[in-house]
């Protein structure tokens, strides 16, 4: 293993989460390295989805720290929106934006992010202009970057490029309600990819799909894995976990009970509960 | 979609601006009681020959009290209202005063057949005689009116008593072969104290005046009772000479009949202003008040 060279993408320390009185997560520590494909499995209600959602603060952690890009996401003062742009998420129910067509679904966030960046620079330039009025020493303006029109065009080009990779470019102008579940989920993955994320979180991506559509989604995920994308996948697809993941984690009762490489994990489980669980699902 | 929203916003903005602009002018506002002659006076009413005020915005309130309240709040400038409620308002409110000059009056006159100009002259002569003070005291018309002061009415305005001493006026049979020997009067005998039925006879101020005019002209009096709506239009047809039915003078009716001189003036409209207002202190006539209002 070349773990020494691996760079940490997300580092989770002592993460707990309570829903009211109920303790769902009871202290989870996990380092996610660059290029990791982590499969999270566990019985339903064990807290694996909650854990995943805590990583990008869809659920706020009750205590603990989530280190990403040198900042603690669990800290309320952190601008979570900036970091979420780099942490993609794929949902069980796809959650494509129903009011937008496929292309807009993919480009919405990149365009808004770029626009906001532009606006921020404009504001800073205004400040500089104001400062320049009163001081002899002229400060140079900041580079504005692309025009809004060009931002849009670039985003669309990229989106179409991504759609081509999944052979769905002809659906660019279609609305989500006209697509099959498998198509929707693949587009949802592409939507996450369009932000150039450092890591993508998959929340049971195939659970809501008809059996014949599971294959195409898993195929795409495999391709992503081969391209070296860092992925955290909550899944019930044991075969997929064994094939794609480099680490498999078993969560039960709000704790990581066992973590291992897939070969060891499935053939030689240590924990009693994991054994029990595997005997039921395999 | 975006263009659509932008267009809507632009439209709203434009309409708000336009609206604000049109309503911005410091227009003089007069409060009135809804549905009264005062409202017609300010807004203008061709039928009642009221020109109205172009420069004044009429604000019609549900009652006079609210109008006065609005004036004291500064939301309107003056109030125009019937003289009787005006008196009460002034009595109850020390911050206002009434300019006791009649701005409009309800004028009652008789409607004479347009083809009979002589008759009009004769009726006017008779009215003049009725209105002339006798020996510096009350006139004959005053005496007639006084007879009806004690009438008692039910809720619908029907007479239920107080007229035991009044004899009433008898109507002769209409004789179409002798049109020049009879004075045919059209009325609607359900408007006490001006005209109402008393048994087979007619009573009321107008009826007694009719009797007086017939006697004055040496004619036989024929009274035709009909719907109020038909009174004016019947004049000049079927031998009807004159309409005597508590008619107020209006432009519409003028097209059908010639009005005699006014024999009775009803409620009138007055101006109410704030106590400290001195604009109208020197006014003595309606024209002076209207001059000031028109130049607002």
């Amino acid at each position: 293993m070349k773990e020494v060279n691996k760079e940490t993408v997300i580092s989770i320390k002592g993460l707990t989460k309570n829903f009211g009185e109920k303790e769902v997560l009871k202290g989870i520590d996990l380092d996610i390295f660059n290029g990791d494909k982590i499969a999270i499995i566990g019985p339903s209600g064990c807290g694996k989805s909650t854990f995943l959602r805590c990583i990008n603060c869809m659920e706020d952690a009750t205590s603990g720290a989530i280190w990403f890009d040198g900042e603690n996401l669990a800290d309320m003062k952190v601008d979570i929106n900036v970091h979420r742009q780099k942490i993609g998420m794929v949902f069980q129910q796809f959650n494509l934006f129903n009011n937008l067509n496929v292309l807009d679904n993919i480009t919405l966030a990149p365009v808004i992010v770029a626009k906001n960046k532009r606006k921020k620079i404009q504001r800073q330039n205004l400040k500089i202009w104001f400062k320049n009025l009163f001081s002899k020493q002229k400060t140079a303006y900041l580079e504005l970057g692309d025009d809004i029109k060009i931002i849009k065009e670039k985003a669309e080009l990229k989106a179409i490029e991504l759609l081509k990779q999944i052979q769905l470019e002809e659906y660019a102008k279609a609305y989500p309600s006209t697509l099959s579940g498998g198509q929707k989920q693949r587009i949802a993955i592409v939507r996450a990819l369009a932000m150039d994320p450092k890591v993508i979180l998959f929340d049971e991506p195939t659970s809501a799909l008809d059996p014949e559509m599971v294959g195409e989604v898993l195929e795409l995920m495999k391709r992503l894995a081969n391209d070296g994308m860092t992925m955290v996948i909550v899944t019930h697809e044991m075969g997929f976990a064994r094939e794609v993941a480099n680490r498999v984690i078993f969560i039960d009762g709000g704790k990581i009970v066992e973590e291992n490489a897939p070969s060891e994990f499935f053939t030689n489980p240590q924990n009693e509960r994991l054994k029990d669980f595997l005997s039921k699902v395999l | 979609m975006k263009k659509f929203i932008k267009a809507i916003f632009a439209g709203i903005l434009a309409s708000v601006c336009l609206f604000a602009f049109t309503a911005c002018g410091p227009k003089c506002k007069i409060g009135v009681q809804q549905g009264t002659t005062g409202e017609l006076y300010v807004n203008g009413n061709a039928d009642m020959m009221l020109p109205g005020f172009e420069n004044i915005e009429c604000k019609a309130f549900n009652n006079g009290g609210l109008a006065v309240q609005a004036m004291l709040n500064g939301q309107i400038d003056y109030v125009i209202i019937d003289n009787e409620p005006a008196k009460q308002l002034v009595a109850q409110n020390s911050e206002i005063k009434m300019i006791d000059i009649a701005l409009t009056t309800e004028q009652y006159a008789y409607g004479v057949d347009k083809t009979q100009t002589t008759l009009l002259q004769q009726v006017n002569n008779a009215i003049a005689a009725l209105k002339a003070p006798i020996l510096g005291g009350p006139s004959l018309l005053d005496a007639i009116m006084a007879k009806y002061d004690n009438l008692q009415y039910d809720e619908d305005g029907n007479v239920i008593g107080g007229d035991e001493l009044i004899a009433g006026v008898e109507s002769a049979q209409k004789d179409t072969s002798n049109p020049n020997g009879q004075l045919v009067v059209a009325t609607n005998a359900a408007f006490a104290p001006f005209e109402y039925k008393k048994g087979n006879k007619f009573a009321g101020i107008d009826m007694e005046v009719a009797q007086f005019i017939a006697t004055f002209l040496g004619l036989e009096l024929v009274i035709e009772d009909m719907d109020f709506d038909a009174v004016v239009t019947s004049v000049g047809k079927n031998g009807v000479d004159i309409a005597m039915a508590g008619l107020s003078v209006t432009e519409t009716r003028k097209q059908s009949v010639n009005f005699s001189d006014v024999y009775f003036e009803g409620a009138y409209q007055v101006l109410i202003v704030k106590k400290d207002n001195t604009e109208f202190d020197n006014c003595t006539t309606k024209a002076q008040i209207e001059d000031i209002l028109k130049n607002k």
Binding site: V82, H83, A109, Y175 | I12, F19, N45
Partner: protein, 232 residues
């Protein structure tokens, strides 16, 4: 027949139609501007109500909104108009014309009702939509504006149309604060001759036509929105 003649004369010969047209304009103006204010206020209240409430500010805002909604839903519109015109304006020393007072009060009032319409509309949109929006890094407000609210409009629009119809009809009370709306205009025509049958029947017809027109427009818009859901 005579009643008709009197009406015709008052309406055409004596320019009654001008008052009516002005009144109609006032009625529509109050209802439209009132609804616009109502939508703005209603949206804000609705979003405040569905906002995540970790911090103290949204909690306070929600309380304020609750009081606001309770007041405007709990008192008759006439009372609000009268308070606005005869109590509030003098107390604040603002001399607004009755029309403005009416627009403001109608806006505030419909805001309370629209907020409920909006809230249920927003809540009818799958929570996953907002979540997905947040997950790609949009702020709560951007996600609301770009994703949730556009989708809720489809549910909101018909009810909002009903609210507009209610507003149009409710404006008939503005003569309480001396505003000449279409009702007052027709009433004035009746007052001029004490002949009310035709003016009031015509008035009813005018309202009916407006309401039917609005209903038609809403249907049209609904159909368009439905179409945009399907592929183009």
């Amino acid at each position: 027949m005579k009643a008709w003649n009197v009406f015709y004369k008052q309406f055409i010969t004596y320019n009654g139609y001008k008052t009516v047209l002005n009144g109609l304009l006032t009625t529509v103006e109050i209802a439209v501007l009132g609804l616009i204010i109502g939508i703005l206020i209603g949206t804000i209240i609705a979003v405040v109500k569905v906002m995540p409430k970790y911090k103290i500010l949204p909690k306070i805002l929600e309380k304020v909104c609750d009081v606001y909604v309770a007041f405007f839903r709990g008192t008759p519109m006439v009372v609000q108009l009268l308070i606005g015109y005869f109590v509030l304006m003098p107390a604040l020393n603002i001399m607004l014309d009755g029309v403005y007072v009416a627009i403001i009060i109608f806006g505030l009032n419909s805001g309370a009702y629209v907020s409920e319409i909006m809230r249920s509309g927003i809540q009818s949109v799958d929570a996953g939509q907002l979540e997905a929006g947040r997950a790609v890094g949009l702020s709560f407000w951007t996600a609301m504006l770009k994703i949730v609210i556009p989708q809720s409009i489809k549910n909101i629009l018909p009810t909002l149309g009903n609210e507009f119809i209610v507003l149009i009809k409710e404006t008939s009370i503005v003569s309480f604060i001396a505003v000449t709306d279409v009702t007052k205009a027709f009433r004035a025509i009746g007052d001029a001759n004490y002949e009310y049958i035709i003016p009031y029947l015509t008035l009813a017809l005018v309202y009916l036509v407006i309401v039917l027109l609005i209903t038609f427009l809403i249907r049209l818009m609904e159909r368009r929105l439905k179409r945009s859901e399907r592929s183009k």
